[in-house]
Every structure is written in C-alpha cells, then in structure tokens.
C-alpha cells in the first residue's frame, strides 16, 4: 500500500499540470478562442487553415532546416572533440572543463552576447579584412540570419554532447584499440571499425535527442533575431508563443501546437524503434 501513496501525489500533480493542460489545449484547438472572452466551435477549420498559412509553413521550413543542420553539426563536432579529448593528451580535465562551460550559461543571456558579436564585431572585422559579404550584420539578412541562430545553438549544445560522447568513449575497452593497432589499422580505420560500432548507441540517442530539442528551439531565436528579419527565423515554438499570447490566435496556434506534437511523436516512435533495435539503455 505504501507504494501507492508514494506515487499518488505525483500522479495527481502530473495529471493537473501536464495532462489536463494538454487536453485543454487539444479542446481549444477546435475553437476560435482568442485566449480570453467568448469562443465558438469551428470544427477542423483551424487545422485546414494551418496548411495554407504562409507564416506557419515558413516556420516549419525554418525549424526543420535549422534542427537538421544543427543536429548534424553538433554531433559531428562533439564526437570529434570527444575523440580528441579521449586521446593521449595533457590537461584533459582542464580542457574537458572548458568545453562544458557553454552548457552552464543561460542560452538567452549568452545569446544576447552572440547577437552583439554578429551585429557589431563581426561586420567590423570583416570590413577590416575586406570581406565584403560579411561587412553588414548577417542577422539583418533574411537569407543568412538563421546561420547566426545556428552558430549560437551549435556553440551551446556541443558542450553537453562532448561530455556524453566522452563518457561513451570511456566504455570502449582499450584492448580493442590495441588489437586493432596490432592488426595495422590506422587511426581512421580504428575509429570506423572499433570506436563507432562500440558507441553507436550513444550516437543514435544523442542524435535523436538533439533533433527533438532543436525542433523546439525558442530561446536562441528570441535572443538572436526575435524571429526576424520579418519572419525569416521564426521557429514553430516562437510562432506559437507570439500568435497565442500576443496575437489573439489562441485556438489557432494551439492547433498548430497539436500538429507539432504529432510531428514530435513521429520522431519519438522512430527513436524508440531505433533504440530497441540497438538495445540501448541509456538516458
């Protein structure tokens, strides 16, 4: 019986503060609620309107492009750094400590710093070096502003992933490397043939978790561009926040969020499939 009392408060709180709001959200997605005042049922019209809304489509396009590129870059860079840090180097603990620092900073706050760097310092440096293309702020360029958001995201997220990959690399037995080295395998072959298969679980989990996190990008965008110029870097989360809280589109943006949840759930299903196939048991 005690076991029931141990979980009961958590279950009730979770119901009240998580499940019920989700259900309420789904309910309001079928209404024209502005977030306050009276509302009417509108059936599925919020959902059908989403698919022809330029702003929504552009938010999805930006978010997926950003999330995909960020995931690949973060995992590639983090894995490379982790392999380096796992090598025969000096000052390992100090270097490891430095590489983790971005993860302890608030994305929003360091984002304002990056914003300044991209708006002021980088153009100054570029024009001093005579690089015409970068002599104006890329954050003001609708075509390039997303690169600024990307830079911040990669810089910040590599920190955590380096540590996770390093933990993964340390689970690889040293004898395997020695055996491979005796067989005459070079560093690249050893990485492809020994390291990568041994830490495949880490790669899969990190990749999918990164993707899931980047799909929900919010702080980065607020700090760097606030969605601009225009709506060029408006992510799905930013759009839902702006439209839902400030734009009087409560019901409509919640419908957007429901579609977004379905997309994330799709990734989750794929993730669980892959995880089960790999037999991975790590968080």
């Amino acid at each position: 019986m005690s076991f029931f009392w141990m979980v009961l408060p958590a279950l009730v709180l979770f119901l009240v503060f998580h499940t019920i709001p989700v259900l309420q959200g789904i309910f309001y997605s079928f209404t024209d609620s502005a977030g306050y005042g009276a509302w009417d049922f509108v059936g599925l019209s919020n959902y059908t309107a989403l698919f022809s809304d330029e702003r929504v489509l552009s938010a999805y396009l930006f978010t997926f492009q950003f999330a995909l590129v960020a995931t690949i870059l973060v995992n590639g860079i983090a894995l490379a750094l982790a392999v380096g840090l796992n090598g025969r180097i000096r000052f390992r603990n100090a270097l490891r400590g430095i590489y983790f620092v971005p993860n302890i900073l608030a994305i929003l706050v360091i984002g304002y710093v990056f914003n300044y760097l991209f708006s002021n310092s980088l153009p100054e440096i570029a024009s001093a070096l005579g690089i015409e293309a970068l002599s104006t702020s890329i954050l003001a360029d609708p075509e390039l502003a997303w690169v600024g958001v990307l830079a911040l995201a990669v810089w910040q997220a590599v920190a955590f992933n380096v540590i996770i990959y390093l933990a993964g690399l340390q689970t690889v037995p040293a004898e395997l490397y020695e055996a491979a080295a005796l067989d005459g395998a070079g560093p690249w072959r050893r990485f492809r043939g020994v390291t990568l298969p041994m830490i495949a679980g880490f790669v899969v989990v990190n990749t999918v978790l990164s993707l899931k996190n980047f799909l929900q990008v919010f702080d980065h965008v607020v700090a760097m561009t606030n969605g601009g110029p225009g709506t060029a870097t408006e992510s799905i989360s930013v759009l839902i926040y702006k439209g839902g809280f400030q734009g009087g589109e409560y019901g409509y943006q919640i419908a957007n969020a429901v579609v977004f949840m379905a997309v994330i759930a799709l990734f989750a299903v794929v993730q669980f499939r892959v995880m089960r196939n790999r037999g991975v048991s790590h968080a």
Binding site: A10, A106, V109, I110, I164, D219
Partner: protein, 272 residues
C-alpha cells in the same frame, strides 16, 4: 607503462577551446569599458575601466531581487525534485510486476515527447487562476515536468540495487518508507548528483517557463529580467554586458569550484 603525450593533439584542442573562451572574454572586457571604447571589433582590452557599469546594471535590473528569485526557484526545484522524483521512481522500479505501475511508468515517460508549446497556453491560465504565477509555481512545475526524464534515470539505477538489502530490513520490521529513506535514498547518491546538477542548470537558466508563467515583475528570474530589460538598455551596451556578466557569474563561479564533480555527475547519468 605511461604512453607518450600527443602534444599536437593537446595544442589543437587548446586552440579550439578558444572558441569557448573568446565570447566569455568578450563579455568581461565589454562589461568593463566606457561607452566610447566600444568601436571597432570590440576585442581590445579596456583602456579605462568603468566599474559603474555594474552598479548601473545592478540598479536598473534590480539584480538582487532577480538573483534571489532564481536562487530560490533553483534550490527549491532541486531539493523537491530529489526528494520526490526518486521516491516515485523507487515505487515504480520495485513494482514492475504490477500493471498499474508499468502503465504509470509509460505515462510519465511518454510526456518526454509532448512539446511544451502545446500546454504552455493552458498552463499559463491555470497557474494564474491558482495564484501560482510566481516562484512557488515555477518550483512546482520544474518538479512535475522533470519527473518524466528523472524517473527514467532513477529507475534504471534502482534496478541495479540488489533487493536483499531491503528484504533484510523488512524482516527486521522496517516499513516501506523507512526502507526508502534509510536504505535506498542514500544509495541513490550518484544519481541524485546527476539529477540535481541537471535540474539546477535547467531551473537557473530556463527562460520559456518563467516567460509564460510569471506575471509580476517582482517574481521574475534572471533570464526573464534580462529579456525584460533588453529593450531598455538601448545602446547602453556596456551596462547591458555588465548585467549579462552578473547573470552568468553565480553559476560560473560555482562551476569553477565544482567542475570535476559536475562533469562526473553528468557522465554517470549518461553511462547508466
């Protein structure tokens, strides 16, 4: 036998670590400058230090209030998360043969894949209605929302603890509660470190949840205050940077001293 140090690799990694250090260096030098030193790339050392930047930022953003709120929310969230989430995980991990607990596990963990935007509008209304649009509400929500991920970490670890210890205590007449607090909770220390560190980083640095929940300016946390004042700094960049530095400093200072412990905490969570 100690193998030879690869100095080239060491040098390369040291140079690459500058990508982390340079933005931090930039924050510090900018925070110390007078506004007229801002021109150019901005990487030069200050020729004249203006300490008043910090005093101005302190006053403008009401820093002590915001720092206190952040500290309160972070400490509250960490302590309550450790005490409650581990207990829930224990009940679930030791009752996997019961259907109720198996479903409960799936129920909690599946919430990991529910994006926050879908509930942020309703939960903002709900907390406002319940009078929880403040620090207490934030603590509560971090504890509740953290459950999904933390249960995942805790249950995996609890399953590796042999049951014999508990069975012996039960024979001696200990209740389930006593068993948990006296035997299991102390054994969970490595995972408590992991969960505690991750919760601390989350609660201290989070922006979205305070943004949608907190209404009164007096209850704002540090990132929220930075957001609120970003507009009022205007072109007063040196004061803005002093305020960024002050917002980052508390956790950075803790990290400098607890660095090894923090990293081993995160690592332990990953390998499990």
């Amino acid at each position: 036998m100690r193998s030879k140090t690869n100095w080239w690799l060491t040098a390369l990694l040291a140079v690459l670590s500058l990508t982390v250090l340079i933005p931090l260096y930039f924050v510090v030098v900018t925070a110390l400058k007078t506004p007229d030193q801002l021109g150019g790339s901005g990487f030069a050392l200050p020729t004249e230090v203006r300490w008043e930047n910090f005093a101005d930022a302190w006053r403008m953003t009401n820093f002590p209030r915001a720092a206190l709120n952040s500290a309160l929310v972070t400490v509250g969230a960490v302590v309550l998360t450790l005490l409650t989430n581990s207990m829930v995980a224990y009940a679930i991990a030791r009752n996997r043969h019961r259907r109720f607990f198996r479903i409960l596990f799936i129920y909690f963990v599946s919430a990991l894949f529910v994006p926050f935007p879908i509930l942020m509008l309703p939960v903002a209304k709900q907390t406002a209605f319940l009078g929880l649009d403040n620090q207490a509400g934030l603590i509560l929500l971090y504890v509740v929302y953290g459950l999904s991920f933390n249960i995942f970490i805790f249950t995996a670890y609890i399953r590796s603890i042999p049951r014999e210890l508990e069975e012996a205590a039960v024979i001696d007449g200990a209740s389930t509660w006593t068993v948990f607090w006296r035997i299991i909770f102390p054994l969970l220390m490595p995972m408590n470190a992991t969960v505690g560190i991750l919760t601390c980083l989350w609660a201290w640095n989070d922006f979205l949840l305070p943004l949608v929940i907190v209404s009164a300016p007096e209850a704002a946390t540090l990132p929220l205050v930075q957001h609120a004042f970003q507009g009022t700094f205007q072109t007063n960049y040196t004061v803005a940077f002093a305020s960024y530095l002050m917002a980052m400093a508390p956790l950075l200072i803790v990290y400098v001293f607890a660095q090894r412990w923090v990293i081993s905490g995160v690592t332990q969570g990953a390998v499990k």
